[in-house]
């Protein structure tokens, strides 16, 4: 179980459900090919010259014969005042659902002929597929695929393109958890234990008395020799509060904080999680669980024993 710094035991998805996204994608695909506006400028020599220079293409034949390099297909309609293409609504819905990251994964072009100087091309777009959610190295996301065909004045295809992007949910930037404990040489063993999944209880190195919270000297025998025991991880809820107000940084309300009595004979404070608030009650058996709050703090928390 991974931790969440919000203190919500069971996170609820905040984005648009997958079903809704797929329904929208099917609707857009059903629109078929949607014709856009023609390119604002005809295929022209200055743009071709710029493009060849930028690409380092020294082939003189294009300008000599008045032909555009085929890979320039998108260039001619890039600035066209576009009608909304069927793709736009899908991408907007993905953004709204939190899949705000984008990376192009496929671009396959089919060339029927060279575009010639002086002709105007008109794009037409067909949304073809939405796949996902899929887990990727960039994060969870959807692959959106569409096809664009550029037509000439006679409605004959000049170039076709399949384009696919991955729209992904960027991993949340890890915010440092705001409620950090201060740690010193008397308490470090406890927090290090939590990072290793151990609930450590200070044990006097001389008289063996267990103690929590820990401290530098055994109140029973005044020894400063310290060691620790690893608790079984079972406990009983001794008392608890349900915090509603005011808001607490790093937490979502309401949340439960309890005093837990351990069979080892000490008490410890921690959140009761993975349990509906109304089912929390004094005396309930609990089991420890360890939750990373950020990259430096792990808190021992408590879940119902039967969970």
């Amino acid at each position: 179980m991974t931790g969440t710094p919000t203190g919500t035991p069971t996170g609820t998805p905040t984005g648009t459900p997958t079903d809704t996204l797929h329904e929208l994608a099917a609707k857009q695909a059903a629109l078929g090919e949607v014709r856009g506006a023609p390119g604002p400028d005809p295929v022209n020599a200055p743009m071709i010259r710029h493009w060849l220079t930028a690409m380092g293409d020294a082939n003189p034949l294009y300008l000599e014969q008045g032909l555009a390099p085929p890979a320039m297909a998108q260039v001619w309609t890039m600035d066209a005042p576009r009608d909304r293409s069927p793709v736009d609504d899908v991408l907007a819905a993905l953004d709204a659902a939190g899949y705000t990251g984008v990376v192009a994964t496929d671009c396959r072009q089919t060339y029927h002929r060279y575009a010639r100087l002086g002709e105007r091309l008109t794009p037409a777009t067909r949304f073809t597929d939405l796949a996902g959610p899929k887990r990727t190295a960039l994060g969870v996301g959807f692959f959106a695929t569409w096809n664009v065909t550029w037509y000439d004045a006679d409605d004959r295809p000049v170039t076709e393109m399949l384009f696919r992007v991955l729209k992904f949910r960027p991993p949340e930037v890890a915010q440092p958890y705001p409620l950090q404990p201060v740690v010193n040489q008397d308490t470090a063993f406890f927090w290090e234990g939590a990072k290793r999944g151990e609930l450590r209880i200070q044990r006097c190195g001389d008289c063996g008395a267990l103690r929590h919270p820990p401290g530098p000297m055994c109140p029973a025998c005044r020894s400063t020799a310290r060691t620790h025991a690893v608790a079984t991880g079972r406990g009983t809820l001794y008392s608890y509060v349900v915090h509603h107000h005011p808001p607490v940084p790093g937490r979502e309300t309401p949340f439960v904080v309890g005093v837990v009595e351990l069979p080892e004979g000490v008490r410890i404070v921690g959140n009761v999680v993975d349990c509906p608030v109304e089912e929390v009650e004094v005396g309930m058996p609990l089991r420890v669980t360890f939750r990373p709050m950020d990259d430096r703090l792990v808190l021992p928390l408590w879940t119902p024993e039967e969970a």
């Binding site: 409620l179 509060v241 107000h245 607490v248 790093g250 309401p254 005093v259 008490r267």
Partner: protein, 388 residues
């Protein structure tokens, strides 16, 4: 022996508000002057000053502003509202031992318009002090507000004694009823019903909003001098019959969850023992109690720790009208911090003085001994003030 050696000779206060519009130092200076005037003394008579460790106004600053000259005694009592009666204890000790002749105790803050104690402060566990380390066992879990700290005890109390939220609510209703007829109270003319208490929103279950005292701007000051001298001053003295501080075994700040059964306040028991011993009085000898009421549950606990009723009996005592103005132990006739103002307990000491003088808003008949307590859940303090 401290009993009867010193007296409260003067009390003073600013208005109680939600936004004073003035600096905390100015509030302190105004209250100090008012208390000196009440006693018939001048700043030139003052040679000692005591406040709480949390007060933003240093003794020397208050002395400067009020034109007080040399100070031979100054002290800051620790542990928040638990210090309230401790200031008087320190002042009485100074007077009784000759360290000072006239000591002013004061508490001044803009607790509502300035720094609000009820808001989360992640810095509580930020410093490697003993208290920062102590808070580090609680703050990381979001257990970070006074209401929540107290609610943890309150839940245990309900569980062990079978009490209910309404038992807490009756405390709030009584305090607001008292405040309703106290013109100095913020909630003057605004009593509440038990139904309103029950309907108020949750703050930290099992505490409703109306289980939590208000937040206030204001200041209160007291003048402590020898009993002998006080008798010659302008107002009738309130003798300091007993004064005590108390901390229990395993004590923490608001989070003593690791000792006993969490249904009591052992530190208040330490105070009570001393108060009764020092005064030679018993619970039946006091005509009124000023009990620190930042949160309702600890009013019940205090009634038990101080010996006004047995363990677990406070809910019944309150239900039977025990703490009402016409009950066997009127508690907080001024309305307490739930009703009058939250001045960290200092306004309660002033009310005890008024009851002994006979000029309180809700004056009780035949008051000769008043018990006062300070903040609960922390190391605390208490007083028994007597006429004479």
């Amino acid at each position: 022996m401290l009993s009867g050696r010193a007296a409260v000779a003067g009390i003073g206060a600013t208005e109680f508000s939600k936004e004073s519009g003035r600096s905390e130092l100015r509030l302190a200076a105004e209250a100090v002057l008012a208390a000196l005037d009440d006693a018939g003394l001048s700043p030139a008579d003052v040679d000692g000053m005591v406040t709480y460790s949390q007060d933003a106004n240093q003794e020397i600053a208050v002395a400067r502003e009020t034109g007080v000259g040399d100070l031979t005694f100054f002290s800051r009592v620790e542990y928040g509202g638990g210090a309230a009666c401790g200031t008087v204890a320190h002042a009485a000790m100074a007077v009784a031992t000759g360290l000072a002749r006239t000591v002013v105790c004061y508490r001044a803050f803009n607790e509502r318009s300035g720094r609000r104690f009820g808001q989360p402060n992640a810095g509580l566990s930020g410093e490697p002090t003993s208290q920062g380390l102590e808070m580090s066992w609680h703050v990381p879990y979001g257990l970070i507000t006074p209401a929540a700290w107290v609610a943890m005890f309150a839940r245990r109390y309900l569980h062990v004694y079978g009490a209910t939220s309404e038992d807490f609510g009756r405390v709030a209703v009584t305090m607001r009823r008292h405040a309703a007829t106290n013109p100095a109270a913020w909630f003057h003319g605004r009593p509440i019903t038990l139904e309103e208490h029950q309907a108020s929103r949750w703050i930290a279950e099992p505490l409703h909003l109306l289980d939590c005292c208000q937040e206030s701007d204001g200041a209160v000051a007291l003048v402590v001098t020898s009993a002998e001298r006080a008798r010659d001053l302008r107002r009738p003295p309130a003798l300091i019959r007993a004064a005590a501080q108390g901390s229990g075994a395993g004590q923490m700040m608001m989070t003593s969850y690791y000792r006993d059964d969490m249904t009591g306040l052992p530190e208040m028991s330490v105070v009570a023992r001393q108060l009764w011993e020092m005064s030679g009085l018993s619970p039946s000898d006091v005509q009124a109690a000023i009990l620190y009421d930042h949160f309702t549950p600890f009013v019940l606990t205090q009634l038990e720790e101080l010996g006004f009723c047995g363990r677990g009996e406070a809910p019944g005592f309150v239900r039977d009208g025990g703490i009402a103005l016409d009950g066997p132990l009127p508690v907080n006739p001024h309305g307490g911090q739930l009703g009058e103002a939250y001045i960290h307990g200092m306004n309660g000491i002033a009310e005890a003085v008024r009851q002994l003088r006979g000029d309180a808003a809700n004056q009780l008949a035949g008051v000769t001994n008043v018990l006062v307590t300070a903040g609960t859940g922390v190391p605390t303090s208490g007083l028994i003030l007597s006429s004479g």
